[in-house]
């Protein structure tokens, strides 16, 4: 197994624990990260398990189904983090629109209900999702409410925003050309996947981790 993949899964698990802790100590918006990370980890573990059992297991369709779920949770987190009401309305309505669009792409372009479409990766879906989330989280980054006494690096949403921006910005071209490149050069596509997608995933979860650590309220007790 690719060492990057093991690091990625480990980091994903740590992020899930941290987001759960953050929710328990009172950061209510972390619940969307808990749900997102839990579903991500469940999908990754299921795919890894099934793939290890049967190397011919067609796992692509799972990512097609997971994609709208991922978009929804990222949007719900944005809705709790942002304070610009006009933009929030737009994001709110974009959720059902995106779910419909993503499923249409999966069924009518990739044909995930039959082989070989069942084994494709939702590259177009992720590209569209990434483009939209990139805009949302760039907006969040610029509209963060920073306390005068604190620095921007201490704001949890700063890290979550830059994590999302780096991940989706970095994978945009690779995923855009994924299907085409996969057909003409399988080995190089897998090589690029290890070189681009996995490290950027690690950066994404590392950033979310830093953000979650900052989000945990710092309580100091004075014992007299």
């Amino acid at each position: 197994m690719n060492p990057f993949y093991i690091v990625y899964l480990g980091l994903l698990f740590i992020t899930l624990l941290l987001s759960g802790y953050s929710y328990i100590v009172g950061v209510k918006k972390s619940v969307y990260l808990v749900l997102l990370l839990f579903s991500t980890l469940a999908v990754e573990l299921f795919v890894t398990y099934k793939f290890n059992q049967n190397k011919h297991f067609a796992f692509g369709f799972i990512y097609h189904l997971f994609n709208p779920v991922e978009y929804t949770f990222f949007c719900l987190y944005y809705l709790r983090a942002s304070n610009v009401s006009k933009f929030k309305t737009l994001v709110k309505y974009s959720i059902p629109v995106y779910i419909t669009l993503s499923l249409c792409i999966s069924f009518f372009i990739y044909h995930i209900d039959v082989m070989p479409g069942k084994n494709t990766l939702p590259a177009i879906n992720i590209d569209i999702e990434g483009f939209i989330l990139f805009i949302y989280y760039t907006h969040l980054l610029f509209t963060l409410n920073i306390d005068l006494k604190k620095h921007i690096y201490g704001h949890p949403d700063f890290w979550i925003s830059i994590g999302v921006m780096i991940f989706y910005g970095g994978t945009f071209v690779f995923l855009g050309l994924y299907s085409f490149h996969f057909k003409i050069n399988l080995n190089q596509t897998l090589k690029l996947f290890s070189a681009i997608d996995l490290p950027l995933n690690i950066i994404l979860y590392s950033c979310i981790n830093v953000g979650l650590i900052w989000s945990i309220p710092n309580r100091k007790y004075i014992i007299s």
Partner: protein, 258 residues
Amino acid sequence: MVDTKQEIYYFIIIASVFFLLLVAIIIITALLYHSRKRIHQIEVSNFQDILLQSQYEVQEQTMQTIGTDLHDNIGQLLSLTALTLNSIELDNEAKSRQKIDAAIDLTVRSIKELRLLGKLLQGDQLVVSGLPEAIRYEITWLEKSGKYKVNYIDEGDVPETNNADKDLILFRVMQEILNNIIKHAQATEIDIRLTYSELHLQLQIKDNGIGFTIDEKGGQHGMGLKNMQKRAAIIGGEVYIESTPGAGTSITIFIPYP
């Protein structure tokens, strides 16, 4: 020769790096934006602090003036009225009439002084009626002490400003300068000149006191001057100080106006 497959491979790497650089630029821009926003917020917060402090100090100064005036002026007038009324001998009608007239005169003067004092009670509201008027009013109280000859010149039509906060801070700086003259300068003559031209307001306060060496910036003296400069800077102004030991001091404040 590089084939198409390789070209696409390199294209993906280069384009991904390019996109990551773009992300980095956006993040740096956001950091700069927040940094500027933070500086602006700090400036606004400082301005509000200084404004609040100035309001408080102007009110405190007003209370001090009222206290002094009640004790030295109105108090004296009323004591004199009481004395005059006490000394009336009812069997001497002509003399009594004279003393009653004097008591009435003293009472009228007291009422006049009280009215003036009532106006002063408005404190920082005084500045709302316009800076030249507020300065004139302040000078009236200074002249009343009888210790100083004050010459006040108001040149150019000072336009009305929507930003009364600017007036208030400038007024407080002027009060601070006058206080310093009273406390330290041993002056007998004070010249105050308020000039407005080319969107700038200039307030010059000169005295014929003992002066000081400008290099001596230590202690409370230096703190006071720095405080004045800080307040002027917050409304975009500058303070110039000229002083020679034995030859008095001149302080000029320039502020963009209105």
